[in-house]
């Protein structure tokens, strides 16, 4: 109850931002919505199904290019975004059948190489994408204030859509089945869960909104290039946000994304040279101090000791 009240309140604050704050804050709020939507998306495959996907930037970038190219053909604005959503969803559904057969490390690598391959394609297919020089996207007419609002509310709409989808999945057979798959995929198969379809559904859901977000981002910044659209940093940041908030929970991804973005904005801008090191230290601390994420906060009292006692090994084996 408390968290839903907090959620609604924060939505109202975000919605009011253009009327009470300057463009810098509106821009920050847009980023808050954008990363929350991405983290929520990742939660479908990473949090529920337990598959360590690093394909986020692939979907984001594909959406960005699909949206930007259709927008440059002269289509009226929400259309390119919808088009990008459909393209990315279809792409993920087709890809899912192939790469979801991989497990663990192999899946992680498979998903990260999707990003690499798409980026290399975008760089080398210069006639279509402008290659490494990037692609200019038509600027939304109406001035910066108006555009700022349009993009904030659009990102917010996608975030809310992703959130509602997540609520539905959480309560449905799909969500229950995905949690079973996360715990023991073979056993899930044995009790009648069509694991291939379930995983593909989770993968597609995790991709779809990333595509929309990518397309909106392209319209927003009005210029994309392969290394920005298919950024390795993005593909790793988003799972970290979800881990920070609490994977497999409904509010965790939003909380994690917001804490992360605000930290980034407040601290790292002041220590530009140590940007990466601080982010790295946050990740390391997160893994040791907050293994279940902010939502399942149980601060560990001491640094965990080594885990090699034989009883520990046996316990791990039996629980498999």
């Amino acid at each position: 109850m408390r968290s839903s009240a907090f959620f609604i309140l924060s939505m109202l604050v975000l919605a009011a931002a253009p009327f009470i704050a300057d463009n810098y804050v509106v821009r920050l709020c847009t980023f808050l919505c954008m990363y929350a939507a991405l983290a929520l998306s990742w939660n479908f495959i990473g949090g529920y199904a337990g598959y360590p996907s690093f394909a986020t930037a692939g979907f984001f970038g594909l959406g960005a290019y699909a949206g930007a190219l259709t927008q440059n053909l002269g289509f009226w604005l929400p259309l390119p975004w919808l088009f990008a959503t459909v393209v990315v969803a279809l792409f993920a559904a087709g890809l899912g059948f192939a790469i979801l057969r991989m497990k663990g490390h192999y899946f992680a690598i498979g998903s990260i190489s999707i990003v690499e391959i798409l980026r290399l394609l975008a760089s080398s297919w210069a006639q279509l994408t402008g290659g490494g020089d990037g692609l200019n996207v038509r600027i939304l007419p109406g001035g910066p204030d108006y555009a700022g609002r349009v993009f904030l509310y659009s990102m917010m709409a996608v975030m809310i859509a992703a959130f509602i989808t997540m609520l539905c999945v959480d309560r449905s057979r799909l969500g229950f089945g995905l949690r079973c798959i996360k715990q023991n995929e073979d056993a899930a198969d044995m009790i009648g869960i069509d694991v291939t379809s379930y995983k593909t559904a989770a993968f597609t859901l995790s991709a779809m909104y990333c595509g929309t977000i990518g397309a909106i981002y392209a319209s927003w910044v009005a210029y994309i290039d392969p290394s920005d659209a298919f950024s390795i940093l993005l593909t790793l940041k988003v799972p970290v946000m979800t881990l920070l908030g609490g994977p497999g929970t409904v509010y965790g991804p939003i909380l994690g994304a917001w804490v992360f973005v605000l930290l980034e904005e407040m601290i790292w801008a002041k220590f530009l040279e140590y940007n990466r090191a601080i982010l790295g230290a946050v990740i390391v601390l997160l893994i040791f101090a907050l293994p279940g994420g902010l939502l399942r906060m149980q601060w560990r009292r001491k640094w965990p000791s080594s885990v090699f006692g034989l009883p520990g090994l046996n316990r791990l084996k039996e629980s498999r």
Binding site: H105, L120, R276, L286
Partner: protein
Amino acid sequence: MQTTLQIAANGLMLGALYACIAVGFSLVWGVLNVINMLHGSFIVLGGYMAFFAWRDLGVHPLVSLAVIAGLLFLLGWGLQYGIINRVVMQPVLTTLTLTFGLDMIVYNFMTLAFTATPRRIVLDLGNIEFLGVVMPVDRIVAMVLALALTGLLFAVLRSSKLGRAIVAVRMDRDAAALMGIRVDRIYAITFGIGALMAGACGSLLAVVYPVTSSMTGLFLGKAFVVCVIGGLGSVPGALIGGLSLGFIESAAGHWLGPQDAMTIGFVLMILLLMTKPTGLLGKQGYE
């Protein structure tokens, strides 16, 4: 004919370096079941250290190589013993994210200390021409050393007591523990050896190519591909994987251009993974 020979020679040279790049990574993955995202940074760090030892202190890279390898072993050993060991049994996402976080820290300080300027050790040893194939001598030296180092690692794993212990842990960790092997120590040493190979390989690379910190991802990517082609945790596997990738890229680079040669490596890996979801020589149940 001559073109084919040249492609083969380039492929061999590239392949030997790829095998050396991947062998430490593959060992860590195979034995610890950890994807070491730090591997690329270890390689670049080795290259930078060799360059500055050569330029500022006048130390020949062949001399500094041993010292650099030792330093990186210590770095790797310490990271594993102090940090990674503590979560090494957790799911893939945790260990992978952790090594990524550590990599960001190492990368940051490395770039601050050495800047991101591409650095290359220019030894200028001339060229050798054989059957119409031209090959710079420094490349040949690097190739031979890369193969020698890989062979040395193989010999250590094959016949030393420590090597047998590492192989035992790779095959069955629990059984090895019951035999009195201290698994945590073996993990730390194995990770150290992975870093050692990366550092040594980095200093060899700096003799052949300009090395810069923005190449960490590239090296990591190569290591991935080689592991998937050749299989995990075995030296011959890394060698086969490295040489295959070397020849493929050399041929693709000649016919399609260097940009597409890289794409081909990744596409090949994905195709392999799709047909063999647990890797080519995949160990059953090995996540």
